[in-house]
Symmetry: C2
DNA sequence: CGTACCGTTGAGGTGAGTCAAAGTAAGTGG
DNA sequence: CCACTTACTTTGACTCACCTCAACGGTACG
């Protein structure tokens, strides 16, 4: 379970500033409104315990490029992305960086490290401006110990997150780059695509070619070439990080019948 | 969390026989002695609850090639490998089979599907004769609800399992085949290697070239060639599925300094 | 003794990596 | 506002690691 994309650094964004998580401006709604909330429904929290969670919660904004937590650092809690997009990186067998997966709004990070009680094996980097909330280890453990249902809902969420979404990117790496790219676009489109009338979908990717390439286990040049090829085939229109897919069904059809 | 290698099929081994899990000969020790036991230490189980777990536990043997559970089937519980080796397969974006990871003695299977309350996305196939025990969903959920510490220990085990071991195979697939093979051998050697005096290690791989290739996202021919090349370099001696590594440090050194 | 499958080796093709260079966009300072 | 820097993107030419296809030896099994 948990895969390796864990995390939970001590005051992770130390490189950003010494600002404490609490000092940051907390959005108007003081209550918990991130991914963990879906695990709290139906759980008969006592008022005091709910207050504990809310009190201990920290919220911070990160700029593009900021590290939210870093590999090798001990976990100090659970991170939850409210807005923005985060990339988890790890180091492979020869110690070079490799993108592992994307973490988006409503997703949790740092759980593997938290529950394993081991240092992070990944580094979380903000791809866009991010609003991220943080729950320190102690109250989280205390609440999972007190409320088994909360615990179960939390694990259900984690188990389901990994099941779908971009965890899949990693599993397709034996396919040709073009198919991996299509697969990647399909995932991004599901989460971030804007469908216009006519069926065309526009995705604004918050990743640069280098990062897409790392996710796909490829090189930036190869990604550029694959995109160019899709353009030549009329399956996509790229404009920097904006990609328009005129006919999604035609594009995804290539995954089913991989006849060039 | 959980990665996608989940599982927990209903009477999974239906293709093997209609034998119920309980009908199989249970090894002399009637108590729980598989991977889940490590999660039970220090947990203040009441006698009745411990008995419940033991009573509901099923044990079965599988022959080489048997399916323990299959993709698409709903989870019915948690599987634990006592002995033998199991391969988890999934279907990729173009619906062709791909090996995901190996599951060995003490490891759990089927947890993602169990906790996500979703069908299995993988198929578990016995690579060797396997002795596997099974805990039905209901008592497992009941016990995790009753004993938060048990729950936490269980998740800790799962989180730690994925962190190390062969989950890593998947993450190295952008490296050349030879390095992936070395990485794979290192993992297998740690678990199944027999070290003779002199430092040489002998590993008897229970996988055929085809399966190794699938794990490494490569072709059987390429695996054979990579092994041959390691032999030419004096780093390994292969005899079918027996591989002897005369000097493990020299072999693994290639991962650090990948200068051919 | 044939059938079937696994494992190995060879020959040949190709997808994708490497290297290099030019084009583009974004930020900086005068 | 415009040079200048810097980093990202794209394209081309070349190379090579790996895949494909095919043949052959070994072993198991009926």
């Amino acid at each position: 379970m948990f895969h390796n994309d864990d995390s939970g650094a001590i005051c992770a964004g130390a490189e950003k500033s010494e600002k404490n998580w609490r000092t940051q401006l907390v959005p108007k709604c003081a209550h918990v409104d991130c991914g963990i909330q879906s695990c709290m429904r139906d759980v008969p929290f006592r008022t005091a315990d709910k207050a504990l969670l809310e009190r201990s919660m920290g919220v911070r904004n990160f700029d593009r490029g900021d590290k939210i937590f870093s590999e090798g650092v001990a976990s100090s809690g659970l991170y939850c992305v409210r807005s923005g997009l985060v990339l988890l990186n790890y180091k492979d067998a020869i110690r070079s960086d490799k993108a592992l997966r994307l973490v988006g709004p409503g997703d949790l990070m740092g759980y593997r490290s938290l529950f394993a009680d081991e240092p992070h094996v990944t580094t979380a980097e903000a791809l866009t401006v991010c609003n991220i909330c943080f729950f320190p280890k102690t109250p989280i453990i205390r609440l999972t110990d007190t409320y088994p249902l909360f615990s179960r809902m939390l694990f259900r969420k984690l188990a389901r997150d990994r099941g779908s979404r971009n965890g899949l990117v990693m599993r397709e790496q034996h396919l040709p780059i073009k198919l991996r790219l299509i697969h990647f676009l399909r995932m991004m489109e599901k989460q971030y695509g804007i469908t216009s009338r006519g069926g065309a979908v526009c995705v604004q990717l918050p990743l640069m070619r280098r990062q897409i390439a790392s996710l796909l286990s490829a090189r930036p040049e190869s990604v550029a070439r694959a995109i160019t090829e899709l353009e030549r085939e009329g399956l996509a229109v790229a404009n920097g990080r904006n990609i328009t897919i005129p006919n999604p069904r035609a594009l995804y059809h290539m995954l089913d019948s991989n006849d060039e």
